[in-house]
Amino acid sequence: MAIPKVMGTEIEYGITVKNDRDFDPISSCVLLVNSYREESTAKILWDYDQENPLADARGFQVEGEKYTPNQQENIARNKTLANGARYYVDHAHPEYSCPEVTNARDLVIHEKAGERIVEQSRREANRVLPPGTQMLIYKNNSDRKGNSYGSHENYLMDRRTSFKQIVEHLMPFFVTRQIYSGAGKVGSENRAHPCEYQLSQRADFFETEVALDTMVKRPIINTRDEPHADREKYRRLHVIVGDANMSEFTIWLRNGLTALVLAMIEDGAVDRDLSFRDPVRAIKEISHDATCRREVEMQNGRRRTAIQVQQEYLDMARRYVATREVAPEFKDLILEWERVLGALERDPMELSGEIDWIIKRALIEAFMERKGVDWGSPQVQMLDLQYHDLRPDKGLYYVLERQGRVKRVVTDEEIERAVLHPPEDTRAYFRGGCLRRYGAQVFGVNWDSISFGIGDEPIKRVMMVEPLKGSKQHVEELFNSSPTAAELVRNLRS
């Protein structure tokens, strides 16, 4: 029986300061992250002791230096928020890792809350920048000059499912899901074949099938084996092949269908060989074909379109949910999956209010027609970028959303609530609750631990190796009976 698909996303944002000739991305990121004011969490360390990004899921440890900043730098770069998220500086980008959630709808709410948090800090940061300059943030993955930054998804998996099985059954799904999860991009880069427009922001950057790297020679399946949970029981599948999506419906499909397919893999329900002959080539060929009709070569010599491969997964999914108890969301997802694949087959433009790459393409085509410009026009390239702009008044996705032109999945109220409050059904509830109640005594945090510095006592670290424990149901009583951190620690011991 598949384990619950606890999930989250880590979004790296693009950042620039308009009219600043000496723009320095790192100091801008530090300013941005520190402009988000949350009283309770100002001076809390990110606990790097618990990190091991160099462990490989194929069973070995890679040589390399682990990054551990000094205390001051640590605090300057890391914010753990009362909603359970981590908001921080990763290399030269601001990054928002949402708290752990148990379903794709909650994932949409918390990923969207991240956009608002970053936007709120952007506005604050701009108050201290010199007049005439302005910090701008983009939720995309590429500068269209060969530099890419990631948006990663994480899914909790059963350790008993071998990594080899995951790779085999997931690869064709990852190569093809971009037909409904791509964020769209004008042109190509990174030495890929030229094209006018493509489905994915990221496809041009994948150079190998399976590897540990995330920044060079990027793999379609990443092998980082850092479960942030009990490693005897769990793995965390770290997915780097996705795009940063704006559309709520696209995010919901992306995470929901991936979770569903992973559950199917755990239950042995993916039993067809859909392997591509050359997945790295296939992912680019599919991305570069906006008609979704291109046939790509399979391992068995046949040729299939991405839609056909997705239909095979859909077919297996229908059988899967017909014979067992599954998460209620999976049934809704399957209905939408079927509808979306049908529309893609007839004419992708039918989804011009739902799927990011199609929403963006329809907008650009309407603009080109009216202005008489083509794909090479700087204005078209600007549209491509500004679709992802986080400013509510200037971001083109938000303009379309405000006019009711895009399909929504969640409400503004739910998103606003998630800016301040953690999900209630995972350990994020305990993390967020501790920060809100005992922020001054919280010393350090990581996904699977939280440590307290109380008076002169030695630091006490509370481990949270079960992602589903620490939920509201588990800890509300504990919180209520622990007015102080000292009492919490005492109550946890007893």
Partner: protein, 88 residues
């Protein structure tokens, strides 16, 4: 007004899709089903379709106007200067 080379019916269908208006799409199919809108005589359905087409055209025009207003000035320089360091 701009002159379109494509048939008005196809034009309307595309606009409807962009509006994400599944409902009106069906209405349109019913209304425009029996032809007459490709330059020939106009039945009630065809007239309705033409009127709807006009409305949609106006709506698209106003969307593009709004986009035009918020679109970054000096697009060429802006996109040229947007350079990021590679991330994860």
């Amino acid at each position: 007004m701009q002159i379109h080379s494509r048939s008005p019916r196809r034009e309307v269908e595309e606009k409807l899709r962009f509006l994400g208006a599944a409902e009106s799409q069906q209405q349109q199919k019913k209304g425009g089903g029996d032809g007459g809108d490709d330059g020939g005589e106009k039945g009630a359905g065809g007239q309705k379709l033409a009127k709807k087409g006009e409305e949609l055209k106006e709506e698209m025009d106003s969307l593009i106007d709004e986009i035009d207003e918020v679109l970054e000035e000096n697009a060429e320089e802006f996109v040229k200067n947007y350079v990021q360091r590679g991330g994860q």
